[in-house]
Amino acid sequence: MKHILIVDDSITMRRMVKASLRSLENTAFEEAGNGLEALERLALTTVDLMILDLNMPDMHGLEVLKFVRKHQTFHNLPVIVLTTRGDETNRTTTVAAGASYYLTKPFEPKVLAEQVQQLLISSPH
């Protein structure tokens, strides 16, 4: 069973991400509505892949990402960054911070699902 953590402060977005991925077999979802909650989920549950929004209330997604990369347990975690079209944070910065993949909202469900699947196959977990 693969566990995917979806981090976004919009509940609708989280649901849409989940629905995009329902074709994947053997996956379970965890959700977090802000950065600290996301880290807490990471610490308390097994997570194989994180889908991360950038613009969030407490902690910018980029900070969450940088922090995860610094942590000895999670530094290899595949992270897909989802951002809103037209955000100032661009792809280069995001990838430099360690994003495994970068998608803008609105995203194509199929593309997301394919990426998730690829990353899960190649991940060491």
Partner: protein, 680 residues
């Protein structure tokens, strides 16, 4: 490769309702926060939390708009966000005129999403977009914030710009400082103690200046560290110590490691302002941690309510059986059965109340919208109006609130347009130039009372009478009592220049106000004094569907009367009745009650006359009493509305099944209370 695709229709359809709901929720926050910005105009921008919240909501709205490919909304949200960001970065100074544009923008955003939902043509927004672009072009160079003097608290070195600002504000207010560490664990999480909950708690105690994760020395998991400023009062963290948290007073340049520092908190003693309550409320109101909230479709709650309704009926049936068994069973066994039955009743009531609570929402959101309305209405007039809100936390069934929205809007609109006078007129009468409209909600037993009151000119009863006579609604020699005035005002199509039912222009008149209230099983009363103001009082049931009712008999027919709809029940001797023209009246508590016989209204054969009967005094101030012959008891009834238009009878609100399998009709007491009046 990044893809900017559009989502398939089918995929979207599944989420569209969720999306609309979140959209509406965030728009409400945006609108509220924009209004709150007004107080910041011309002030130094010391606290930016409000702007941060606005930016976040607008950003999400932009994202949601993009998701449904609603380009104009996406663009508008983007423009609003850009402008506010410039304000946030102190490149633009917020002006009254610009705030007006922002508010218009937010309203247009709402119109666009409504148009999208109802598949109407989208509104024109170019002028707002242009205005926002123009407002942004006046960008000035950022002014560096004034340095703060006399503080002994040094901020931690890694504060971001906005954290630094929050820090400065709290220092100026003389807050105490704490460093709080929280280590999450599966054990705590199981008990509901998690980072969101900790944060919520801390926000109730004070302000979180900084929150950050740390990697503990062992390198496993996380620790969350919060820098918290609390109002200069005793703050007791002790009950938290056992639950994964440590707290230490914070007073030095470098945050000390937990549990080594034991110096008392240093108070800066600069100022001892009371805690900024508005700020705290805003924090609490901000979209809470998503994990603790569930959005539930109303239809599911309705279904739950229906099932409980069926349970109530079944239990009543069981009670009947228990009664019949009394003579057949040994008394010890029967008592056992009876006790079980009573316990069941209590539990059922608790269950019902539990589900009811789920359906309840605070009146506050409805009230907040009124601020917008008032603001809108007075913009083009000379009037000055202050809206006072009380009892926003009063809870009421969601359905009731939704239905009451338009009537409330109408009453508030009337109060502004026709109640409050211009400042010149007011000053001439010795009133303050600023008029007050007070919206108040409170709970009274099983009912919620909502009052809309203004201190304006009152309703000119003379003028209404003149108008009513000219429309042949009132006999030439008759005069009006307050309650008749209300009834007259609520007649469809009745208008005068000075009465409330004028140019509402949005499809709701006083008649709709009255009908909505009475449909919900409530009452509307009016109190007006020339020169002093007008007060509308609305009494609403907490919830619909299941109510306590009196079962009464008229002739051989039984009726259920919702307990809330009557004020009291009195026993009357036939000799106490006075005949006045075609009406029977009795004196009661220094007022006159006009009697309505159910036997006459519904053409029920009268049983041989008795010496005594009962009068149900109708709630509100209708001055009507309903005559019944017998009182049969009290029942919890499930209201089934009669939907078939063929069986819709004036005076009947619906039907219900009693436990004995009998169907009884439920009286619409408010309707029966609308007695033939002299102006009809």
């Amino acid at each position: 490769m990044p893809t900017e695709g559009t989502l398939s229709e089918a995929f979207l359809t599944e989420f569209i309702d969720d999306l609309y709901a979140e959209y509406a929720e965030r728009l409400e926050f945006v609108q509220r926060d924009l209004l709150a910005l007004e107080t910041l105009i011309g002030q130094p921008l010391s606290d930016k939390s409000l702007l941060d919240a606005l930016l976040r909501h607008l950003h999400t709205l932009k994202g949601l708009s993009g998701t449904i490919n609603l380009k104009p909304a996406e663009e508008l949200a983007h423009h609003l966000e850009s402008y506010l960001r410039a304000v946030r970065q102190e490149q633009v100074e917020l002006s009254v005129a610009d705030l007006e544009i922002l508010i218009t923008g937010a309203k247009e955003l709402e119109q666009i999403i409504t148009a999208h939902r109802t598949q109407q043509a989208l509104p024109e927004i170019n002028s707002t977009l242009n205005a926002l672009t123009l407002a942004l072009s006046g960008t000035t160079v950022a002014v560096s914030p004034k340095p703060l003097g006399g503080t002994v608290i040094t901020p931690p070195p890694d504060l971001t710009v906005s954290e630094q600002e929050r820090f400065n504000t709290a220092v100026q207010q003389g807050f105490s400082w704490w460093q709080v560490d929280f280590t999450p664990s599966p054990n705590l999480a199981e008990r509901g103690i998690n980072v969101n909950m900790v944060r919520q708690r801390l926000e109730q105690l004070g302000r979180i200046i900084q929150s950050k994760p740390l990697i503990p020395p062992a390198g496993q998991g996380f620790v969350f560290e919060f820098l918290v400023a609390t109002p200069p009062a005793n703050t007791d963290f002790s009950e938290w110590q056992l639950e994964g948290m440590t707290y230490t007073p914070y007073s030095s340049v470098l945050p000390a490691p937990p549990s080594q520092e034991s110096k008392p908190a240093t108070h800066t003693n600069l100022t001892h302002d009371p805690p900024d309550e508005m700020l705290l409320t805003l924090n609490n109101l901000a979209l809470g941690p998503a994990a603790n909230l569930v959005r539930v479709d109303m239809a599911r709650l309705d279904e739950l309510m229906r099932l409980i309704g069926e349970l109530v009926t079944s239990r009543a049936r069981q009670e009947n059986v228990v009664k019949q068994l009394k003579l057949l069973l040994p008394s010890a066994q029967w008592r056992l059965l009876q006790e079980t039955n009573l316990v069941l009743e209590r539990q059922l009531r608790a269950l019902r109340e539990g589900v009811m609570r789920v359906r309840m929402v605070p009146m506050g959101t409805a009230f907040e919208r009124m601020k917008f309305v008032v603001r809108d209405l007075i913009r083009d007039t000379q009037k000055q109006v202050k809206l006072e809100l009380q009892g926003q936390e009063t809870e009421i069934d969601k359905l009731v609130v939704d239905r009451m929205m338009d009537p409330l809007l109408h009453l508030v609109r009337n109060a502004v347009s026709h109640g409050i006078e211009t400042p010149v007129e007011r000053l001439a009468q010795g009133k303050p130039a600023e008029g007050i409209i007070r919206l108040q909600a409170y709970t009274a037993g099983e009912a919620v009372i909502v009052e809309v009151e203004d201190d304006g000119q009152g309703i000119a009863i003379e003028q209404v009478m003149v108008q009513a006579r000219s429309q042949q609604l009132l006999a030439a020699d008759a005069t009006l009592q307050t309650r008749e005035l209300l009834e007259l005002l609520c007649r469809p199509g009745f208008t005068t220049q000075s009465c409330p039912d004028l140019n509402s222009g949005r499809g709701v008149g006083m008649d709709v106000v009255k009908n909505t209230v009475s449909l919900l099983g409530g009452f509307l009363t009016l109190d007006t004094k020339a020169g002093q103001g007008t007060k509308f009082t609305i009494q609403l049931p907490l919830t619909l569907a299941i109510v306590d009712a009196l079962i009464v008999a008229a002739g051989e027919q039984h009726f259920a009367v919702p307990q809330l709809s009557i004020r009291e029940v009195i026993e009357v001797e036939t000799t106490a009745v006075t005949q006045l023209e075609n009406n029977e009246i009795i004196a009661h508590r220094s007022e006159i009650l006009m009697l309505v016989h159910l036997t006459q209204v519904f053409g029920i054969p009268v049983t041989p006359s008795r010496k005594k009967f009962y009068v149900l005094v109708v709630g509100g101030d209708s001055g009507v009493g309903i005559v019944v012959e017998r009182l049969l008891g009290k029942h919890e009834i499930v209201v089934q509305p009669l939907n078939d238009s063929l069986v819709q009878v004036p005076g009947i609100a619906g039907a219900t099944e009693l436990g004995n399998g009998k169907i009884v009709l439920i009286l619409d007491v408010a309707q029966l209370g609308q007695q033939p009046r002299n102006f009809r």
